[in-house]
């Protein structure tokens, strides 16, 4: 009997590209009758007029519904099941968030509408701001950044502006070798050189190296805490001290705040500035890649440099945007950020309350440790330091059979799960980075554990089964090399319509 308990296969629709379903004369739109004189575009626009829209599709409404419905069935989402992507915090996306963010006065609001009729939105931003500073133990906030990486950039620019105000923006940002790729990329965009910081045997920042590398050239350290191994940097207070002693600041990548909310506040132990990923910790949906939201919280010293505008309370108690911020780093985005995500995050915080948020964090850590305990022995644990919200194994025990983490991940698909994170963190060779989040029941965790154990066994008994996985999906093992070598990045009409597969 198949060891696979969680999934089976079922008939699934094929579907071509929308362009292949197009034919002239089909349509899915209708405009109300024009109540003003019709303008002849050729006359009004002259040479700037366009007459043809090329290969834009022509299809009817039902074809659109079916097209995207069918496509959707090829995806796996949090709604489908456990989504253990480490560092991604694939938690439940509450439906009430979606309802709240679609309310007419919120979704329909124009960013330039008068403040008088924007008090609702302003209050949401204000309340969320308060919640975020309270949760992190920080003093001030900007909600403008559109995602985590954007928040990083904003935060590092705050550091830069602050140091500049002290006379020297400095040259370098220290980044641990376990850091996420956005950290060094951000530092570079902010005009800094990146200097690597080694992790120690416990997977934490190596304090002696930090001491050695911290000098007056260093603007900041970007630390992730818990770091990408899921390990809490216990020496965080000391790290802050070391930096502060040299006039450098401590930036924290808050992507892993799901391990801390309600349990510990970075601001209480020396962090000067950090971003959060509302699309991780605060339950806003990942949407197949975005949108996210990356608010930045900071200490008082950085507050003058926050992007414009900031929200203020007017003497008459109404809320307003303040643009008169001469020391601001300027805007990092038009308008006020991904407002719709702010609505969702606040709805999430309100649904939880302080006790719910704490319980959430506890369950996230509980789940990760449960998996760790149950898979230990089956997979190699390169760092034995205690785990917080995620656990990172390696494929060390499986490589002898020629099997890598990516193969195990593919085989997990046959067992009805989305794979864990495979390419990251770089300090673990062949990493299996597993973050279950608090949203998983014991039942779902046990199924994952069974699946992972069964795969470990398959690696011994039948490596080919694993190496050729997945066996149950519409498509399997794509030729990614050809994709990159001869990029085909758009459909073209000349290409023969591929036979429906």
């Amino acid at each position: 009997m198949s060891p696979i308990r969680k999934a089976t296969t079922h008939v699934n629709q094929n579907e071509g590209l929308i362009f292949e379903k197009s034919s002239p004369g089909k349509y899915a739109w209708k405009l109300p009758e024009l109540d003003v004189p019709e303008v002849d575009p050729a006359k009004a626009l002259g040479a700037a007029a366009r007459s043809d829209l090329g290969n834009m599709p022509e299809v009817s409404e039902i074809e659109i519904i079916r097209h995207f419905t069918r496509l959707s069935t090829w995806n796996y989402g949090v709604d489908t099941g456990l989504y253990p992507l480490g560092s991604c915090t694939m938690k439940y996306n509450p439906r009430v968030n979606e309802v709240a963010s679609r309310m007419e006065g919120l979704a329909g609001a124009h960013p330039y509408q008068p403040e008088k009729i924007s008090q609702g939105a302003l209050l949401i931003m204000k309340v969320l701001s308060k919640c975020l500073t309270e949760i992190t133990g920080m003093d001030a906030v900007t909600l403008q950044p559109a995602a985590g990486a954007h928040g990083e950039l904003t935060g590092i620019l705050l550091v830069r502006a602050y140091l500049e105000s002290k006379g020297n923006p400095r040259q370098k940002i220290l980044i641990p070798d376990s850091a996420h790729g956005t950290n060094p990329a951000t530092a570079a965009i902010a005009g800094y050189a990146v200097e690597n910081l080694k992790s120690n045997a416990a997977g934490m920042v190596d304090i002696p190296s930090l001491v050695a590398q911290t000098n007056e050239d260093v603007a900041a350290l970007m630390i992730t805490n818990p770091n990408t191994l899921g390990v809490f940097e216990r020496e965080i207070a000391k790290i802050a001290e070391i930096l502060h002693a040299k006039g450098a600041l401590l930036y924290m990548d808050g992507a892993n705040m799901n391990a801390l909310v309600g349990k510990a506040r970075p601001g209480d132990r020396g962090v000067d500035v950090m971003h959060m990923n509302l699309h991780k910790t605060f339950s806003t949906p990942h949407g197949g890649g975005g949108p996210g939201s990356g608010p930045v919280v900071c200490k008082q010293i950085l507050e003058p440099f926050l992007p414009v505008p900031v929200i203020v309370t007017r003497p008459n108690d109404t809320l307003a945007f303040d643009y008169e911020r001469p020391r601001s780093i300027g805007r990092v985005r038009a308008f006020y950020g991904n407002f719709g995500m702010l609505v969702r995050a606040l709805a999430y915080i309100m649904a939880n309350g302080p006790d719910g948020l704490r319980q959430t964090t506890e369950d996230a850590v509980l789940n990760a440790n449960y998996i760790r305990k149950k898979l230990q022995g089956y997979y190699d644990l390169p760092y034995s330091t205690p785990s917080m919200h995620e656990v990172v194994f390696s494929d060390h025990l499986q490589t002898k059979n020629g099997i890598k983490t990516g193969d195990i991940a593919k085989r997990l698909i046959d067992y009805g799960f989305h794979p864990y994170t495979v390419t990251f963190p770089l300090i673990v060779h062949g990493a299996l980075m597993i973050e279950p989040t608090e949203s998983e029941s014991k039942e779902e965790l046990d199924l994952l554990i069974d699946a992972m154990r069964s795969i470990a066994e398959e690696c011994e008994r039948d490596p080919k089964l694993v190496l050729e996985a997945p066996h149950t999906t519409r498509v399997s093992r794509l030729d990614e090399v050809t994709a990159a070598r001869k990029p085909v990045l758009r459909w073209k009409p000349r290409q023969q319509p591929a036979a429906a597969d």
């Binding site: 366009r50 834009m56 989402g77 060094p184 949407g287 300027g330 407002f339 649904a351 990029p487």
Partner: protein, 441 residues
């Protein structure tokens, strides 16, 4: 907590299996004095019905039910209802970035279609999977031009959206990108002579917007010519995507940085929107952001995957083309559905309605006030100069549940009592007539 699928008994069982006594044992790595004692000072837990009520109240305080003449980078277009019913499918909105193509062909194929449609509409050869928005796409296009040309300077038209320029300035400052601003003429277009003077052999790119911030359509070919003659690239920003239905695409540009909000994305008090960058094939390896490519699987079946990832931060780290990771995928999906609904003919008609409404409105305004920049074609926005401060006019309109045009004093003090008005297919003649009456008072 109702989102948590665990009973206390199960928690206890799991703790025992792990081999610890209490949950706090698992938090031992956090020094005790660092741990929060008691509850944070946050709103107490709300029932779902209370959450709905709370946001309903906020919505009611936030201009629900007002007619609006605002544009300026955020547009009120009708959103076909199929958009939300499709993007609300859990398989789309609760999925992650499609790193595992076997479980993400839906997202991947949809992005591939998005990329294709953006190419069709902009006249470019490749388009990425999205950027945060039009404003942040701006510095990204400029930095891209710098990478392509090996130069740094940018010459920027003042008729580019002021907030896009502000964002560019924030980024440019620390990238060492010198920016030269170029003004506009009586007809609202960029001053091509000044532009020509400003461009030199350190110029990486010329940046214009078309239709520009005033709604005026720029002479893209002429700007391209100026840029190209000096070995610079032309970057064209587009903030009103619906214009592409009827305005000649900027085929002469090298890079297009565009805001897709008009394509079915609610104004949403400023976001989430979706930026997108499109360019020529030859520049694709300098492009920021994710790209989906067509390939085949091990059985030869057509399939799609993320590709050219060596441009990206998770591979290249500090040498990446951008630090962007999370983008605006679901918003791009909205845009994809919108473009599919209107399609080849509908987008044209939609654009024509916008054009006609704005033309009618400009005509009516013109009878009682001064409509600026009349010498060049415009799309669905126009600038009206009044005797009265436009804020006063707007205050009166607000009482009639109408939001008037955007006063421009803040961005262009030299234009005096000017405001930027926008009409879309949603604007009715009756609304226009009501507004014009108020202006004439």
């Amino acid at each position: 907590m109702r989102y948590l699928p665990k009973s206390d008994a199960e928690r206890g069982l799991m703790l025992r299996e792990i081999g610890v006594r209490t949950i706090d044992d698992l938090f031992a790595p956090i020094p005790a004095d660092f741990r929060v004692k008691g509850d944070l000072n946050l709103p107490r837990a709300f029932a779902e019905s209370e959450i709905v009520d709370y946001f309903r109240q906020r919505s009611a305080e936030n201009g629900a039910g007002y007619a609006s003449f605002l544009g300026a980078g955020a547009y009120h277009h009708y959103r076909p209802v199929v958009i939300d019913s499709l993007i609300s499918r859990g398989e789309f909105f609760t999925a992650y970035t499609p790193y595992q193509p076997e479980l993400a062909q839906g997202t991947l194929q949809a992005i591939f279609e998005f990329q294709t449609m953006i190419c069709e509409l902009t006249g470019m050869e490749v388009a990425n999977a999205s950027m945060y928005d039009g404003s942040t796409a701006t510095p990204e296009t400029v930095m891209m031009a710098a990478r392509v040309t090996g130069r740094r300077g940018a010459v920027v038209a003042r008729s580019v959206h002021p907030e896009y320029r502000e964002v560019l300035a924030t980024y440019a400052r620390h990238q060492g990108v010198p920016i030269t601003n170029v003004g506009f003429l009586e007809n609202g277009r960029v001053d091509l002579k000044a532009l020509e003077q400003a461009v030199n052999d350190t110029t990486a790119c010329v940046l214009i917007q078309s239709p520009n911030f005033f709604g005026t359509i720029e002479d893209v070919a002429a700007a391209a010519d100026i840029a190209h003659r000096k070995g610079a690239l032309l970057v064209v920003a587009i903030s009103e995507a619906v214009s592409l239905g009827i305005v000649k695409p900027p085929v002469e540009a090298d890079i297009v940085g565009m805001e897709a909000q008009s394509f079915g994305v609610p104004p949403g008090f400023g976001g989430p929107y979706a930026g997108v960058i499109a360019t020529k094939e030859k520049f694709v390896r300098q492009m920021p952001g994710r790209l989906v490519g067509e390939t085949h699987d091990k059985n030869g079946k057509r399939a799609f995957c993320l590709t050219l990832t060596t441009r990206e931060q998770h591979i290249r780290r500090e040498k990446a083309t951008s630090n962007i990771c999370t983008n605006q995928a679901l918003v791009a999906l909205m845009a994809t559905v919108f473009m599919t609904v209107y399609g080849r003919e509908g987008l044209k008609e939609l654009a024509k309605h916008n054009l006609s409404k704005a033309a009618y409105a400009a005509g009516e305004f013109g009878k009682r006030a001064k409509v600026l920049f009349s010498g060049a074609p415009r799309f669905n926005e126009f600038v009206v100069q009044t005797k009265e401060d436009p804020k006063a006019i707007n205050d009166r309109l607000l009482e009639k549940k109408i939001v008037g045009g955007l006063p421009l004093k803040k961005f262009y003090p030299e234009l005096g009592n000017a405001a930027l008005w926008c009409c879309t297919e949603m604007t009715t003649r009756a609304q226009i007539d009501a507004v014009v009456k108020e202006v004439a008072q």
